[in-house]
Amino acid sequence: MANLTWKTFKGIPLALTLVWIAGFAAALHFMDKSVIAFLGILSSIVLIYYTNTSKAIKMVIGAAVLLIVIPLVAGENRYYMEVASQVGIYVAMALGLNIVVGFAGLLDLGYVAFFAAGAYAYAIFSTSQANEFIAGNLFPLSGEWFWPFLIVGLIVAAVFGVLLGLPVLRVKGDYLAIVTLGFGEIIRIIFNNLDKPINITNGPQGITPIPSPELFGIKMGTPFFFYFIVLFVIAFIVLANIRFEHSRLGRAWIAVREDELAAQSMGISLLNTKLAAFATGASFAGVVGVIFAAKQTFIDPTSFTLMESIGILVMVILGGSGSIPGVVLGAAFVTILQVQLLKEFSNFLHSLQQSGIINLPNQLDPSKFQRLIFGIMLILAALYRPNGLIPAKRKKNDLDAIKASDYGKEKLGILGKLSQLASGKQS
């Protein structure tokens, strides 16, 4: 019954979506601290996705909400801007891991290593840390270097991706998961110990102060600026993902995931395809690693633990492995849950307790609830949405456009041999 309802669901009427946006925008404007209003605005993105209107209009409204509405009503609130940036960073990483796990089907449990690679790349060279092993007192680099370092972080992480990919390519399934988990841990431990004999990462003490990005002399260190920087980077990452998905490479990834033997028989090189998946996925983490370092102004190995890798994997699977809108929603959902909702919920319970309305025994302390509630959500998702919040769906090609194409005037490929026949046979 529920399935039938879903199938006949034509999409939310545009008017309803606009009213929703306007309503929550106003609410947020007047009730500054309202978590519900903030969530309402963020969830309008999901509504826009399901709205019954053209793609162009959806993009315009979505862009308007992200670029105009949210900064306008929540811009002064450091906390909301901070949460939004955080969500953005995890969205980018989930999209990266989606390529490895979702498209290519390679179970990677050490993804955070690439994030660390990007973060440390920027941190080392933008502070005086680099002077420890490069002579000449050339460092620190100013915040102006943030922008080119986005590319540097991308490349460094991609190189790490290839280095990881090469030895693990023969290994499959569970064994791949364990090897990648090991790699993630090894990177963290290496960074933790790379302060002797040459001090490259400053070990457990971490690296600080990492400068904020600068553009034409303007320091862009506040959460407000980072919100836009993250948005800017995500736009590129989403675009790249969409392009990959429906390309020769994307098809190769999915073919390798579905059936390696058949993929090889069709001329797909397993080595190149898997390496490309690792490198591309890693590069996204590298880019936002740089942003993370600049935003936090201090990084140390404890930011790059196994739990982070697992967290990002959860976002991908919960959202819909292989589905771009799915993992975006998954990342947003999990991040907001962790960072905001659960804290608010336990604050709420604490305040109830303090005003004496309810009396919870020590075991039911709300802060312990966070993990429990998170676990329950995961179980519910596994039971009711096993393919993810927004399951992956292959694009339906426009067959009329194909039939009308100029290239269809002659038979292509092996069918070209048909023209050697006298009769104009058309199936």
Binding site: S247, R248, E258, S265, M266, S269, I402, I414, K417, L418
Partner: protein
């Protein structure tokens, strides 16, 4: 010179000898069948030709050049393609996309080209889509181009697999039990279709098949394997009357009857 020559191929798996000294020569444009009882080593033979197994002894020559030791994807780019005994389609992709995967080795789009959506990549993609659609039309399943491959009925899946193999623009196509699981009417359709492939597209076809009607009706030349060795080769007429072949399939007493 034969198009494909397998010389003295031997493959062992520990103590089991899957192929022993198998020599098979394939002429261009022919339809050749490799038959034999279950476990005779036919699929092992196919796997060696397509690069999934490396022969322990022997040589494989394509147009006179050795392809022994090449990876399966390299062999596919050299013009040898195959279908599988238990259909191996990419279930989550649409029929059209499955066929587009077949075009993979003939496309040149790389990471950067895809990222920047260059004109060359766009043109290439459109041509690949058109070609895939034309192939679907040719095998008669264009109407389900946008359906997920895993959701198609068995007969259409078989045809889709062939369309996908054709997208590699092969010289040689290896069909591993193309009529498996088909009723008599479907088998006749498949037989006609394979003949059409050879006639219209000048394809060289090698089949593994158990359905004797299809084998006898279609093949120009037959090689018979039993327990890893070749026990006979010849035209369908010769094979039909060969006592060794009859014995292999039906046992000694049957050969004495004929």
């Amino acid at each position: 010179m034969a198009l494909l020559e397998a010389k003295n191929l031997t493959k062992r798996f520990g103590g089991l000898v899957a192929n022993q000294d198998v020599s098979i020569s394939i002429e261009k444009g022919s339809i050749t069948a490799v038959i034999g009882p279950n476990g005779a080593g036919k699929t092992t033979f196919f796997n060696m030709i397509t690069g999934f197994y490396e022969p322990d002894e022997g040589e494989i020559l394509l147009n006179g050049k050795s392809i022994k030791g090449l990876r399966p994807d390299q062999i596919a780019s050299r013009g040898i393609t195959r279908t599988f005994q238990n259909i191996r389609l990419f279930k989550e992709m649409t029929a059209l996309e499955n066929v587009m995967v077949g075009v993979h080795s003939r496309l040149s789009a790389g990471l950067l080209g895809i990222l920047f959506n260059t004109k060359r990549v766009r043109v290439e993609e459109e041509k690949a889509r058109v070609e895939a659609y034309q192939l679907l039309e040719y095998v008669g399943i264009a109407h389900i181009a946008n359906e997920a491959a895993g959701s198609l009925p068995y007969g259409l899946q078989r045809r889709l697999e062939i369309a996908r193999a054709m997208a590699t623009n092969p010289e040689i196509i290896l069909l591993d039990e193309p009529a498996a699981g088909m009723n008599p009417r479907e088998t006749v359709e498949m037989t006609d279709f394979i003949r059409k492939l050879k006639r219209e597209l000048d394809l060289t076809i090698i089949l593994i098949e158990h359905d004797m009607k299809l084998v006898m009706g279609l093949s120009e030349y037959i090689h018979v394997l039993d327990y890893g060795r070749k026990i006979a080769e010849g035209t369908p007429e010769q094979i039909r009357n060969n006592p060794n072949v009859i014995e292999a399939y039906l046992g000694k007493s049957a050969s004495e009857v004929s």
